[in-house]
Symmetry: C2
Subunit: 453 residues, 2 copies
């Protein structure tokens, strides 16, 4: 770590000019950011040559490690033809290939791909398509979305209006659209006393009730399937999604799957909806779609949605939404190579032993005095720290337990970014067995360095 | 053009899987999109080798032509080090260099750079920073923004709520935040009877009044300086901005400059605010920032704004907004090379003869029977078509005059994308004199092919 910020002039220039995302900049007075110069596989290397294991895949985006020869090649090959072209009245092969692959690999009801730039915009597109669909099919009164407690779907104001985490929305509460929050699964502290391994999603009842009570005005229900990422990798069983699908079918409303964080191998499968044979009306994708190389997002929609916009030009039923860099060819080229890497040589089956190893490591981790829960789905795992295992009492925010553990991790060469009191792992999928052991052991050491043994 | 869509299998696959932005997909039954394979300078080349002059810079993003050796090199060099790393708790040299350059090149009151992915998000960031600033400085009641008629600032729901063009917002009206629309300049049809060359922005009065009447509740005023792009390249004089600055100073509210479309040389200068020594509170940049290579955006903020967020962590005054690909190193590398190209060898002065040539061509264009107005600022020009020069009567939307002219342009090898009845030019800055002549002459031919001589 940088104890003398004056030493690296780059850091001074950073401090003078840059406003970092989701950061109290005053923290950089004492702890400047890491000045990362290059990436090598799952490691980030700073200006001094110090290496950090990127156990959060640079905000959950990187799948195959940094500086991957085949992804680099895909990028460079495309650059030699064309970096970008507008995507209205124009098409190009990288986007055609990508859209075709996405339609093939996702559930059969999803037939159309709309491109944008990031997770937030992929959600904004789904919300807007849903609203316009209802307007064009005689139900303009359907203008509200249901989201879960602790949900996160991005931070542009539309996406933020389906966010259930107060931290993100409280400063903007009075300008957000009025949606409906429903108590979602809370498996570690299940208020009904069930366990996620054996429950039947009895906690679905409030959703059923909300759908019933607002049956005339609900445009759709948005969820992060299986893992609520920003909430601290809260995990819930697929039976909740099965119930949701039935209920939304019953009340004839849309389901929006925000798989921005969980798709592309994180859970061990390509898509959660595909793995459990679920049929969302919309599927939002981003992050891993380019293996963490550059921004791209896709919103997939069902054929029924598409057909409600498909008409003579004079009808003005078209979907008027665009971003300059929609379907950026460089990004599409990386995304195509990503899908090749994910689907060739039984890559996903190859994750099984790693997933098993993380599970084994979890058993050991649970013995930690401060480990309230070790939870895991596929290649995503999290340790929820508590002051007391019995009462599940949490550490107060002002103690900044997560932040202190983060600093200890840096000393030991791993880059974590705890969410409150949750230390989580969402490493590049190419992490090796040895590295998995190092990752979890080092996290445990860092926890003990802060909280004691 | 493709008269037989069955010929190019790529087009069939496009038609089956892709939902293009801002497009009535049914139009593709008769006119499939161009299947562009590569770019060469200011030309796009389709699968059959046919070349199209990209006179709209692929949605106003491209500055130096497609497939530019130095931009390609900047991209490839960065890829060899690291495509991406998260931007919280981490920094990297491409972002440090870019932020420092942007702060140096923009007005002195702008001191901090916040990165995001596209024009919409750059605006969302400014809106959110403004709202949070007021909340943290004891004026939480300031929650509304003023925007102009015919304004466009992006299409995520927050950005859309400061849009003045009905076409973009009407389907979503009932979920948008309540802002205030003020009649802006309308120079071609000035209701006060002035001319933009000689007026004193007498049309500023409604803005003054709106600021006065809502002095307690206005968070800020957002404008597209000098050119309202999506409105049809509507142009107005800088005196309007000077009056706005005085009024906003007077009423102590924020000014947000959305220079997404006009910055980086389009008007002949780097930034409109810099050219006229104006001091916006926020400056939103995207599009040309990477020379049209890949998505990146920046929101610059004044030091006063920054300081209202800078405090002890426990204050929770930080700006909680992030996108996974914030400050993507590949994009920053292209942006740094863009700024080098724009500032070396007197590049901007070199535009003057081109700007003069466009002006000369405009004089000829005005003689067209259908040319209501030829207007120009720097390298941006537009022909507003009217049925009658005297009455300025416009063509009805259902005649699709712009669309027909677009198709005639394609036959003749130029890619325009008219906005209603406005044919506009915003070519790559490297367009040559000969190409400028071809561009405008071909547009005029296309107009006459549709409307007669």
């Amino acid at each position: 770590m940088h104890n003398n910020p004056g030493k690296d002039q780059g850091l001074d220039r950073d401090f003078r000019n840059i406003w970092h995302p989701c950061t109290q900049m005053k923290d950089h007075e004492s702890v400047p950011p890491l000045h990362i110069e290059r990436g090598e596989g799952i490691y980030l290397v700073d200006k001094d040559g110090k290496r950090y294991m990127d156990v959060i895949s640079s905000w959950w985006v990187n799948l195959f490690g940094h500086n991957h020869p085949r992804l680099n090649k895909a990028l460079i090959d495309q650059a030699s033809r064309m970096a970008h072209v507008l995507f209205a009245g124009v098409t190009h092969t990288p986007a055609i290939d990508l859209a075709e692959s996405l339609v093939k690999l996702t559930p059969p009801n999803l037939t159309r791909v709309f491109f944008s730039d990031n997770g937030s915009t992929s959600v904004e597109v789904a919300l807007k398509m849903s609203l316009q669909y209802w307007r064009q099919t005689g139900q303009a009164q359907r203008t509200r979305f249901i989201h879960l407690t602790d949900s996160y779907h991005g931070e542009t104001l539309g996406a933020l209006s389906v966010c259930g985490i107060n931290l993100f929305r409280e400063k903007f509460e009075n300008v957000l659209m009025e949606n409906i929050e429903v108590a979602g699964p809370d498996c570690y502290r299940c208020p009904l006393g069930f366990k996620r391994e054996s429950c039947e999603a009895e906690c679905f009842e409030p959703m059923e009730k909300a759908l019933e009570e607002n049956r005339e005005t609900i445009a759709g229900v948005i969820v992060e399937p299986l893992v609520q990422g920003a909430a601290g990798m809260k995990m819930y069983p697929p039976v909740y999604l099965e119930k949701l699908e039935k209920a939304c079918d019953n009340f004839k409303t849309h389901t929006i799957y925000d798989e921005v964080a969980v798709a592309f191998g994180r859970t061990g499968s390509l898509f959660v909806c595909g793995e459990y044979e679920l049929k969302p009306t919309f599927l939002c994708l981003s992050k891993g779609i380019t293996s963490g190389y550059l921004p791209l997002a896709a919103t997939l929609a069902s054929e029924e949605i598409y057909q409600a916009f498909y008409d003579e030009p004079a009808s003005m039923k078209l979907f008027i939404h665009s971003h300059s860099y929609s379907a950026n060819p460089l990004a599409c080229a990386c995304a195509n190579e990503t899908l090749t890497l994910l689907t060739e040589n039984k890559f996903l089956s190859g994750l099984k032993p790693k997933i098993e190893l993380i599970k084994e490591m979890g058993n050991k981790t649970r013995e930690l005095k401060w480990c309230g829960e070790f939870r895991q789905i596929g290649m995503i795992a999290a340790i929820e720290l508590v002051r007391n295992k019995q009462s599940k009492e949490t550490f107060p925010q002002e103690e900044r337990v997560g932040y202190k553990i983060y600093l200890e991790g840096l000393k030991r060469g791993i880059l974590m970014r705890p969410l409150g009191n949750v230390i989580y792992f969402i490493p590049p999928l190419v992490i090796t067995d040895n590295e998995i052991e190092t990752m979890i052991n080092t996290a445990c050491e860092s926890i003990q360095a802060v909280l004691g043994e």
